[in-house]
Symmetry: C2
Subunit: 331 residues, 2 copies
């Protein structure tokens, strides 16, 4: 294993320390337990939007803490849910009197630990709502999940919820908007190579030199099938077909097309995939009104890509377009 | 070779097509020959700032085309200089009557081809100035270079020159500011793995499972030495020591610290390197006033990192901070 780390057991903390120093103008890193908040905190009277999950998916979630998106993020150990006390500490720090929305990717550990933290926070008088993201169409029930996994679509939920909170929406309104994104967002990914969890020290799975795994999860969990590696067009068609099979898009539907790198894939390849996916949507009469291309929801150094399609009605489009200033997403 | 590409010979064009579709609000992609301009073109009467070079380093350069940075970028084939006619076409398209600054990384092919294009443009009455970037302290003379190579520091030159042009500076002024950045910027990189050029189909070099190459170039050109892979602290110290040995930084000097991923390295590792480098600079009494961490000047899917230190005086700091809106860099 060759990685730019010192003690693998300290990888998350060492990385967070550097992240905090590099972006001190935007975020504050807290340790014991680990969580990240907006520099200056949640504006008074504003709903706090919080997400978290295992580390190894950077910039998700801590890279999206800042004005117009998340008020706090809770990174667990690599590919491991944050503990309830971590989540609770973030909730306590970020609550600004208007309640807290927890955005949770659908993994069993995350669901349990965020639920426990929510109960503890409520017992302290903090109002909490939760939304579960389960955009991955690849598989029902998986290595770490009952039901569908939450993957790159989480970014869209976080952006919309954060924008709604910033314009002064109530907790119920922010939660309803987040649920509306969840209802209309679907993703599917592919892996070309495996990744290596630092404290494990060997690749999470084996993939032959001529194979790719279609429907991979963001922890390298098994997908739908292994197939012979083919070109970008063939692979992209498998992903987009699966996404479109799962969502009822009327001709003329307006969507965000988000092509997400898994960490080790160059930007140039993501744009090739984007071009193919864009053409496929055009062929279906679906209008791509917004685009995002980059490595935002990753699996360490895994090579691969996911394609996310999210329906944007007028209100969601306006919230997507609203200003955002975070370490990893700014407009 | 597993890559998300179709025909390797068409990789650059396919990628550019997707890039153009994804960012049509900010840039325009031109083909035959390939170049990229700002959507809407260079504002009338403003100096046009242009850069280019071999593809495979994305988002450099095309990802930095937009308001406040580049007016055009010229991507060659992968790791191959753009041709003079490509550069000339970009100059003709981007010139808005105030002349053109060409920012050229110091590789023999780039130097020759940009020079030829500059002569052709001048023969047509377009005023052209050029600045050569040679920030890599690793080696003098290399596989593709006489003198030092130009690497990640190029981003800093492009940002400052673009900001100067946007505030109405003359061609001579923009060129002088770019030269001032070049005088105070130094970089050095390391590779953990090789990358594979699509039309070649095999890794550019071999590196043992327990080796890293210190002082690597952004095309995988040989560096200073191969050493046993060690932790992030050991590797970062080698890079930062080499950079600091080469530049005369007074205690109290104010710098940008830019930790750049080579393409296949996760963000979490870049922040570990950042933390170590930051501490080393603090120990020398050097003040890090700005930071940039991310994969901006890459070598396809190579795993590795480079560390860039750039001196920022008051004027350069103001230009660095000036608004920028491009596909890959926005604030």
């Amino acid at each position: 294993m060759k990685k730019l780390l010192d003690d693998p057991a300290q990888a998350v903390t060492d990385s967070l320390r550097g992240f905090g120093l590099a972006h001190a103008d935007q975020i504050s890193v807290h340790t014991e337990p680990n969580f990240v908040t907006r520099a200056g905190g949640t504006p008074a009277g504003q709903v706090a939007v919080i997400s978290g999950g295992g580390s190894g998916h950077e910039p998700l979630h801590a890279g999206f803490v800042g004005a117009g998106m998340l008020d706090a993020a809770v990174p667990g150990e690599v590919f491991t849910s944050p503990t309830p006390d971590q989540v609770l500490a973030a909730v306590q720090a970020a609550d600004a009197g208007a309640g807290v929305l927890l955005i949770v990717k659908n993994y069993t550990g995350d669901v349990l630990n965020f639920e426990t933290a929510a109960e503890l926070a409520e017992a302290e008088g903090i109002e909490v709502a939760s939304v579960l993201v389960n955009d991955d169409v690849a598989v029902e029930d998986s290595l770490y999940t009952a039901g569908r996994r939450g993957v790159a679509g989480t970014l869209v939920v976080e952006k919309v919820a954060g924008a709604a909170a910033a314009r002064g929406a109530s907790l119920a309104e922010v939660a309803a908007l987040a649920e509306r994104v969840v209802a209309g967002v679907r993703s599917m990914g592919v892996a070309l190579t495996a990744c290596t969890v630092p404290h494990v020290g060997r690749p999470s799975f084996d993939l032959a030199d001529d194979e790719v795994e279609i429907g991979i999860g963001i922890h390298g969990e098994p997908g739908r099938q292994r197939v012979q590696a083919a070109g970008a067009s063939d692979i992209t068609r498998r992903l987009v077909d699966s996404v479109l099979d799962d969502i009822d898009l009327a001709a003329g539907a307006r969507v965000l097309l988000f092509v997400n790198g898994m960490g080790g894939t160059p930007a140039s390849e993501l744009y090739v995939v984007y071009g193919v996916a864009r053409q496929m949507l055009a062929d279906q009469g679906v209008e791509v009104v917004r685009s995002l291309v980059g490595s935002y929801v990753t699996s360490l150094e895994m090579q691969g890509v996911s394609v996310t399609v999210a329906v944007l009605d007028d209100e969601l489009l306006e919230l997507w377009d609203a200003p955002v200033r975070t370490p990893a997403l700014t407009w």
